[in-house]
């Protein structure tokens, strides 16, 4: 049911907001996934342990739902699933991963850092970045689905 999907979306969003507020209150950090994970891999120093723990937390959230058999996921067309199946094959995914890595690295943030935390801080840079990446993504889907006609 559509309304149920939207409610779950809002509920999940609230949990994400609580997670971001908690990280700010406890460690004084922005909950930006690209910054946290690329920092974990490519920066030395004292931030590695909490960043690694954060990554383990992100993975174990859905992991626990799957292990306990709780069908709280919101996968379209599969009410029992928690994680959806990729829409694109490995070739497209190789290119997409590079663009997402390079883009979030150069642009200093992704959907979480700019889209959630940055908008909540009313940061002009994050508002501009969010507008640009949402429009670029919509244009990309439009071209790949409706102009080129592929199912990607």
């Amino acid at each position: 049911m559509e309304t149920m999907s939207w409610l779950q979306g809002a509920l999940g969003g609230i949990l994400i907001g609580l997670a971001a507020s908690l990280l700010m209150g406890l460690l004084g950090r922005i909950a930006g996934i690209s910054g946290i994970l690329s920092g974990l891999l490519f920066e030395r120093g004292g931030n590695r342990s909490w960043r690694l723990a954060f990554l383990l937390g992100i993975v174990s959230g859905p992991g626990l739902l799957i292990l306990t058999g709780l069908d709280w996921g919101n996968v379209s067309g599969d009410s029992g699933a928690v994680v959806g199946v990729p829409e694109s094959g490995p070739a497209i995914m190789l290119m997409a991963g590079l663009l997402v890595g390079l883009g979030t690295g150069l642009g200093s943030g992704c959907t979480s850092g700019h889209g959630v935390c940055g908008l909540a801080r009313l940061s002009p840079r994050s508002m501009a970045a969010t507008l640009v990446f949402v429009l670029a993504a919509m244009l990309t889907v439009f071209v790949s689905r409706h102009v080129l006609g592929g199912s990607a």
Binding site: I16, I58, G84, I92, A136
Partner: protein, 137 residues
């Protein structure tokens, strides 16, 4: 305590991504596909997250400092530059092609697949490359 704080925040974040449906690339692409059968779910996710964070941040910032660190670490820049906007555009293209941004990609790891592995491999390469290209590093 820092490690526990990181884990707890990550756990809530991962649960939020799963419960909201952001671990499903079809739902994300359904939102981005404004000319198709549009799926507004992502608006509710982003709206719920931004409003909660907006309120949460303001409550938390009433304190002088975070509980387990000596200061809040917030970005201070407010100007727009080419690096920010071109980075955001590249990210958007990759997001539209795959339906994955970094959080959902990590949260989907409990059910790995070859396309997801391919995405994560080049994602890491992209992060490395961006640091090589950045004057700050």
């Amino acid at each position: 305590m820092k490690v526990r704080s990181g884990y707890l925040s990550g756990l809530l974040f991962g649960l939020g991504l799963a419960i909201s449906g952001m671990t499903d690339p079809a739902r994300v692409i359904g939102f981005l596909d404004v000319a198709g059968a549009w799926d507004p779910t992502l608006i509710f996710v982003l709206g719920g997250a931004v409003i909660t964070t907006f309120i949460g941040y303001r409550l938390v910032w009433r304190r002088q400092m975070p509980l387990f660190e000596s200061r809040f670490q917030l970005p201070t820049r407010r100007d727009l530059d080419t690096r920010l906007l071109s980075g955001a555009a590249l990210f958007g293209i990759g997001w539209g092609l795959s339906g994955y941004c970094p959080g959902p990609a990590a949260a989907s790891l409990p059910e790995p697949s070859w396309p997801l592995a391919a995405f994560i491999m080049t994602l890491l390469m992209g992060w490395w490359l961006a640091r090589r290209l950045s004057p700050a590093h």
